[in-house]
Symmetry: none
Subunit: 461 residues, 2 copies
């Protein structure tokens, strides 16, 4: 018995030093009980015996036992020692679906996630402390459904300065990601009787699905060598665009097409939904301003902290035309849905300049990655054409016709997760088919980037 | 003209050195066009002239012009120079609604919000630091739609220990408040073809509205001196109950009625939605265990940090019957909607014991408040009968028939916000009408409690 406990200790990597020992041991024991590895009624080794076996202090084991007794996993009775409680094990329900096995790929080049290892944790915690200390206690209550006024005010200033957005904090709405915002807009459009919404031939399938779930039909616009062509817009209720940096193809919307989209919205009363997901990251020239600045009454601006900071914050924002604001807030259900602390922290991050500093440093890092990507491709895969690299942190690598799926499969064999361009192609796309990879070069942590790049070069034709 | 351009450069703090010149100039020009300072059609100075005036490189001006042409603010035509685009200026919208004036009452006794001034800020920040420092960087990515596994695991242990809930972390779903969870359940029931859902004759109107918005019709159950009577349940798809502490009336659901609800669910395949909003706060005896423990396959357990900590966290949880879990996760749209940092912090708060410590201290504070409330009423309003005080942090104060509205009005004159019982009465309630106040005695900060209590006593008959 004691033997098997020693093994348990080793198997579960209970660190034998520091303050984490007790916790580690407690967790390991709890898991063992919970999963049924230790059957109800099982008598545990004495704290002395287990401590000797694991090479840790006896008190630590005694404390871990006491914790688990307090939580109800174990029972301790004078004379009969410590045992696994009789009712501790919940019999596994037969209907439980088998737990999915997430085999994490060795290298992740799926676009859409920034370099999370570079998240400014220390700065963020400092800002959280400052923001939380300064906040009135009322801030912790049920809040304004639009989100905290501190954040909306900070965003209005930031978006005006950096993206040329015309934003009144009154008409900004904080949402848990752009997708949550899109869901609200879709619901409002549907409630107004809308049936169709125009989208780009290439885009994010998750967004099309959200619109689909609200009851709208997505109709793709033509896509040509100059990008999305909005001239085909007719009686759609709205059009979803990525003007600054077409996702995933990577070009900006040309100025005459920007004008055409806004003109259509004015003429028909339609709405332009401007998805400005990575507007902060532009390398080759000055950022292209937001379309919203051209006509705030007909454009919904959607921005997010998911690319500039991290998706896990679940913080995004919409700048709404005044005429739409009330309906959208109402559709949100009358209460705020995002945690106050993160909102206050992001507001502090923006106003203190920490956000700008982080974006600048991230921009530099992504630009360097992009340059090594381009260099490596030039050397190892000279036939592959790279596009969409003037901004953001993903690139499109064109492949010889008919090779897309085989390259994706070869990548999978190399432990390399990467998406085919066809993944982002609308089923009714109006665009010539193109074999290509969409490579998110921002995602890997620094230490994994060289390996990811090598793996990528190996699978390219 | 050139004169005014020089002024423009100074006014807008265009730095004459460094890499920011082009951006500063572009922003300044864009603003000038947008605000109408530069009228449509205005011809801009040549890039050479403006560059000389501002003491910067000619290329910088040319680049700024080119950016603004690309963005649609300016037009450039061979021979006619650069001009402000005709359609660039948007007149300010007249449709902006006037900003609402929120006059905060002097004393807030609206039930539902805990004492926010006692939120354990220091402990929370410490837990945030520990949790955030320990988290792998991948935790900051797009997460499991059910929420972070650390939090679901901590909740499973906590709910099992404290509330007798039988919870597998796999079937717990984190949501932004109980209302978000209810919205998901409502949507799933509706998608399954459900039409009606039973509710209590007294309850939270916001919850009825959410169910209503998902397309379900709420049908109240009879309410008598023993509380909600589930015997009348027939073919409803589900029943929403507050078994531990009826909201707002304050009684627990009697054991035979608990059984009746579960029996109905088993017999008909219906679902019991158990709203356990303040299950931690019970004063007079051991907490009444959750109904869910009786039958995890037919009860959805809904809990929240909104009463035990603060609504601003926007963290709640559902323990789902295994057979329902997949549909609800799907209805959530495939991604997590709650910030990762707060989730990790709450997990750390739970596992470190800080949560228990906070709840115990809050329980003590609310109990003292309750005792001073009961004492003050006995002294100043002996005819008022207080009920529902064995748990939670609100009480029901019965009033002489026909006086409810006049008391509410008198309270408003005293700067005292308090709700009439009728506010919580379903429009089709099956219950004898009762004049009463629902007093949330947990809400005021300590320093305002005595004043709030005095004001309350002044308005009572």
């Amino acid at each position: 018995m004691v033997k098997s406990w020693a093994t348990l200790g080793v198997d579960l990597h209970v660190e034998p030093t520091g303050t984490g020992v007790r916790r580690g041991l407690t967790d390991a024991l709890r898991d063992a009980v919970r999963t049924g590895r230790l059957a109800p009624g099982t008598r545990l080794p004495s704290s002395r015996a287990l401590a000797t076996d694991l090479g840790i202090a006896r008190n630590t084991v005694a404390d871990a036992y006491a914790d688990l007794v307090a939580e109800g996993w174990l029972t301790a009775r004078q004379g009969s020692g410590t045992r696994v409680a009789e009712r501790a094990v919940v019999p596994p329900a037969d209907t439980t679906p088998p737990r999915r096995l997430h085999t994490r790929p060795a290298y992740d080049l799926i676009p859409g996630t920034p370099d999370l290892a570079s998240f400014p944790r220390t700065e963020w915690l400092k800002a959280a402390r400052r923001a939380f200390t300064a906040a009135p206690y009322q801030a912790l209550g049920y809040g304004d459904p639009r989100g905290r006024v501190e954040l909306r005010t900070a965003l209005a200033a930031y978006l005006s300065r950096v993206r040329g957005v015309r934003a009144d904090p009154e008409h900004i709405l904080i949402s848990a990601g752009i997708s949550s915002g899109l869901r609200l807009i879709g619901a409002v459009l549907r409630a107004r009787g809308a049936q169709d919404i125009a989208v780009e031939s290439y885009g994010l399938p998750a967004h099309w699905q959200i619109l689909d779930e609200t009851g709208l039909r997505t109709r793709p616009l033509p896509f040509d060598e100059l990008g999305t062509a909005p001239a085909r817009l007719t009686d759609e209720s709205a059009v979803l665009l990525t003007p600054a940096h077409q996702f995933p193809m990577g070009l900006p919307l040309r100025h005459d097409r920007r004008s055409a989209a806004v003109d259509w919205a004015r003429r028909t009363g339609g709405l332009v939904l401007e998805d400005d997901y990575d507007g902060e990251f532009r390398y080759d020239r000055q950022p292209i301003g937001a379309l919203q600045g051209l006509d705030p009454d007909h454009v919904v601006y959607l921005g997010t902290a998911s690319k500039s900071l991290a998706p896990g914050l679940r913080l995004a924002w919409m700048v709404l035309p005044p005429s739409l604001a009330e309906e959208v807030v109402k559709a949100k259900g009358g209460i705020d849905t995002c945690g106050v602390l993160d909102q206050l922290t992001l507001a502090e991050f923006l106003t203190s300049g920490a956000y700008d500093r982080h974006v600048r440093s991230a921009r530099l890092r992504y630009r360097r990655r992009r340059d090594t990507l381009v260099d490596a491709l030039a050397q190892h895969a000279p036939d592959v054409h790279v596009t969409g690299i003037a901004a953001g942190f993903h690139a499109v690598l064109s492949l010889p016709p008919g090779t897309e799926q085989s390259v994706i499969q070869a990548a999978a064999w190399q432990g390399l997760a990467v998406h085919a361009l066809s993944f982002y192609r609308h089923e009714h796309a109006l665009a010539d088919p193109l074999d290509a990879l969409v490579v998110g070069y921002g995602t890997p942590p620094d230490h994994a980037w060289a390996g990811a790049l090598e793996a990528l070069c190996r699978v390219l034709p």
